[in-house]
């Protein structure tokens, strides 16, 4: 049969463009800094996950340089064969201590942690119980299993308990998975109650704390510390790419979990390990978090000020409890317009529209940064107020 094997590439891409579903990449000419140059224009950055501005911290940069000089640019292998350096082991030891767990394991990315570990934790005859607003990487991890899946209403413990009650009768293992901080709304999963329910029904608990790591809990130790239940969540998964300012996925928990995880996670076993510079910077990030509490404090001071001012202007900022502050404006077109105008005024914040959120809950999602000054925030707030009035949002 005569066919053009590559025709679909162009066709499908063009279809995406037609629907306006294609990703338009924004190019940074600077680092991920509080003031970045995006698409040739200097803007205040409200889209990055670099919450603590650690990617620009001199100690992290120096540690990356030193590690590269000492151990080279790459690691030469996957972790399992010849790619585990003493530096990698040191990161995991320090991370476990920081999180108050027995052990930890670093994955190549957060996605690799979810996609690699979740399918190993539940199989045929088991069930995974998942919050309806969980992140895409969890959903993909869950798709790779042969386990049944049940979804409960967002953060609804009554609904979760109903599922558990039903699951208890029919399944061998039960695994409850939830985001820690939900990335669209900035609310926090009630992990203390989830852990309690898990205990009651003999279910394993798994939290994806990507947006909580380095942000919530004392010194940014994450969701376990936030609820005072360190070491009680069976799997605390997180990432080095957000508040830690580097890259990489992580899990923290018991030594049994770690032994199981690195022997069974295919993503971990089959990808090259982090370059020494990455591991060096990860270690430095933990050091900074342990010794310089001012970054987390500044992040929260900024967050509180920003939220308070937005609310007093009359903006609807939803139920956020974290530095992710949605500014809910209603119709999708309005959110897009506000975002475009903010960019023109030098503020970079992207819109989140239907179907990611409900039709009438389109929003601008802002993410606070510890590197922003009060002047930066006042400038941003002034623009929000001006445009909010202009677009009749407030």
């Amino acid at each position: 049969m005569k066919r053009n094997p590559n025709a679909f590439l162009k066709e499908e891409y063009e279809e995406l463009v037609k629907k306006n579903f294609d990703w338009k990449l924004h190019i940074l000419e600077t680092g991920s800094t509080p003031h970045s140059i995006v698409d040739g224009k200097e803007v205040i950055m409200l889209c990055s996950n670099n919450y603590l501005n650690l990617s620009n911290h001199p100690k992290l940069i120096q540690a990356a340089v030193d590690a590269a000089k000492k151990f080279g640019a790459g690691s030469g292998s996957v972790r399992a064969i010849a790619g585990t350096m003493a530096l990698h082991m040191e990161v995991e030891k320090r991370l476990a201590k920081f999180k108050g767990t027995e052990a930890s394991l670093v994955y190549q990315t957060g996605f690799a942690a979810n996609a690699g570990l979740i399918p190993q934790l539940a199989g045929k005859g088991d069930i995974i119980v998942s919050d309806e607003l969980n992140h895409g990487s969890i959903i993909d991890g869950v798709r790779l299993t042969k386990a049944d899946r049940a979804v409960y209403k967002h953060c609804d413990m009554g609904d979760l308990e109903k599922v558990l009650k039903e699951a208890d009768k029919k399944y061998n293992r039960i695994l409850i998975i939830s985001d820690g901080v939900f990335s669209m709304d900035g609310d926090i999963a009630p992990m203390d109650q989830i852990v309690k329910l898990g205990k009651e029904y003999g279910a394993m608990t798994y939290v994806d704390d990507a947006h909580g790591e380095g942000v919530i809990g004392p010194d940014g130790r994450g969701i376990g510390a936030h609820f005072g239940i360190e070491g009680k969540i069976d799997v605390e998964m997180g990432t080095f790419s957000k508040a830690y300012g580097v890259v990489g996925g992580l899990i923290a928990g018991s030594q049994d979990l770690i032994n199981f995880a690195y022997n069974k996670s295919r993503t971990w076993l089959l990808s090259g390990s982090h370059p020494p510079a990455v591991a060096g910077a990860q270690l430095a990030a933990i050091n900074v978090l342990e010794t310089e509490p001012e970054h987390v404090k500044k992040l929260w001071d900024n967050t509180k000020y920003f939220k308070k001012e937005l609310a007093s202007m009359g903006f609807d900022t939803g139920f956020s409890e974290t530095p992710i502050t949605p500014v809910i404006v209603g119709e999708s077109s309005k959110a897009k317009e506000l975002s475009d105008k903010l960019y023109e005024e030098g503020v970079f914040a992207l819109p989140i529209v239907f179907p990611m959120v409900a039709r009438d809950k389109a929003r601008i999602r802002t993410m606070m940064n510890a590197g922003l000054t009060k002047e930066d925030l006042d400038y941003t707030l002034e623009k929000f107020e001006k445009l909010g009035k202009q677009l009749k949002i407030i």
Partner: protein
């Protein structure tokens, strides 16, 4: 893009209700004698006005019928441009007028029929258009069990707007009606007449980090069919009773057996061993096969899984199968519009057993389920 809407009002719909007639089918004269006043023309005008006030920019070509079957209402709502494609001859309109108008709508290639009436009107429309084009009801009848109605006039206006802007998908909607003749004699029997096309909230799947694509109702049906087929493979010793409706029907199609869309059928080891069964026949099968499961999906506007449209599944049948062997499947869009599952078996004790369960797991995708509340009190 221009959307062609066929607009039809059944001017006598809903009149029986106020005078205690439980419907207007066949007794319009009596209702008028008892002092009933027209309800549906007002509701129709209300809906169109609401639509115009909020969504005037929508590009719609209106097709309608003469006089009180649509023309008057559109004029009252201040719509000037419309095409009359059917004129009723007599002073009083009948169900034949509804049917004839629908034939004209089809000839004119409308994209959607927007009608104002109740279950009886929906049935008349369905008898002509079948599932060729979607229909949307402005609720104004005495009975509205069918799944084609907006919950009120505002909702109907909004759905029309979303449809015109291609933001809603076309999906299955049950056409149900009480057998009024029997009901007036005190005999409660709601029948499922067919599966029409209604408009529903589309399903979205995440294709990128923040990009979603809508998937067709068929793709979602496919997932649930695979789920049930797996269940059948793992439970070879079970007899499977297949409930009514499009969601269940699709599974039988996938297995390759010819079951009935509206009746109860039985499948054993991938073979159809009984079709359109009555209670007696079902009980006979349950004597022969020790283990059985029944697959149900919520039916109609209120989300009944038992007691409407499937009286063959009598309390005796349900008890024999056992509550734990009931599998409920549903499209996610249906659960959005009917967030509870209703049960009305006519047997108080059995209803209480359902009430005790409080909720059921409903299969919404491949190996994917949600918990949904059960409601058993009568309405």
């Amino acid at each position: 893009m221009v959307v062609k809407i066929g607009f039809l009002v059944n001017p006598i719909a809903g009149m029986g209700g106020r005078v205690g007639l439980k419907g207007t089918d066949g007794v319009a004269d009596e209702a008028i004698k008892l002092g009933a006043e027209p309800v549906s023309p007002k509701k129709a005008v209300e809906t169109i006005k609401e639509f115009l006030s909020k969504y005037s920019q929508d590009d719609i070509n209106w097709y309608t019928c003469s006089g009180e079957m649509g023309e008057d209402e559109l004029k009252k709502a201040n719509i000037k441009n419309f095409k009359i494609i059917y004129s009723h001859s007599k002073e009083k309109t009948t169900s034949n007028d509804t049917k004839n108008a629908c034939k004209k709508f089809l000839e004119n290639g409308v994209d959607l029929i927007l009608f104002c009436g109740g279950d009886g009107t929906a049935r008349d429309i369905f008898s002509i258009v079948k599932n060729k084009i979607p229909i949307l009801g402005i609720p104004s009848g005495v009975k509205m069990h069918s799944g084609v109605f907006g919950i009120n006039t505002n909702a109907a206006a909004k759905m029309l707007h979303e449809f015109a802007n291609k933001r809603l998908a076309v999906g299955d909607a049950e056409i149900m009606d009480l057998d009024e003749e029997r009901y007036r004699k005190g005999d409660w029997n709601i029948k499922l007449f067919g599966i029409a096309k209604g408009i529903v909230e589309p399903m979205y799947v995440q294709v990128g980090k923040t990009v979603f694509e809508s998937v067709s109702e068929d793709a979602v049906k496919e997932e649930r069919a695979e789920h049930i087929i797996d269940d059948m493979k793992e439970n070879k010793e079970y007899l499977y009773l297949m409930g009514s409706g499009g969601t269940v029907d699709y599974i039988a199609k996938k297995i390759g057996v010819k079951n009935t869309l509206l009746g109860i059928d039985a499948i054993y080891q991938n073979k159809l061993i009984g079709s359109d069964l009555n209670e007696k026949e079902i009980l006979k099968l349950l004597d022969k096969y020790a283990k059985a499961k029944v697959i149900l999906s919520p039916i109609g506007a209120q989300g009944f899984i038992l007691g409407r449209g499937n009286l063959q599944l009598s309390p005796k049948v349900v008890r024999k199968i056992a509550l734990d062997n009931i599998i409920v499947i549903s499209t996610p869009s249906k659960l959005l519009s009917t967030p509870v599952l209703r049960v009305d078996t006519g047997d108080k004790k059995l209803d209480r057993d359902f009430a005790k369960k409080e909720f059921m797991m409903v299969v919404v995708g491949y190996r994917l389920s949600r918990v949904v509340k059960i409601q058993t009190n009568n309405f």
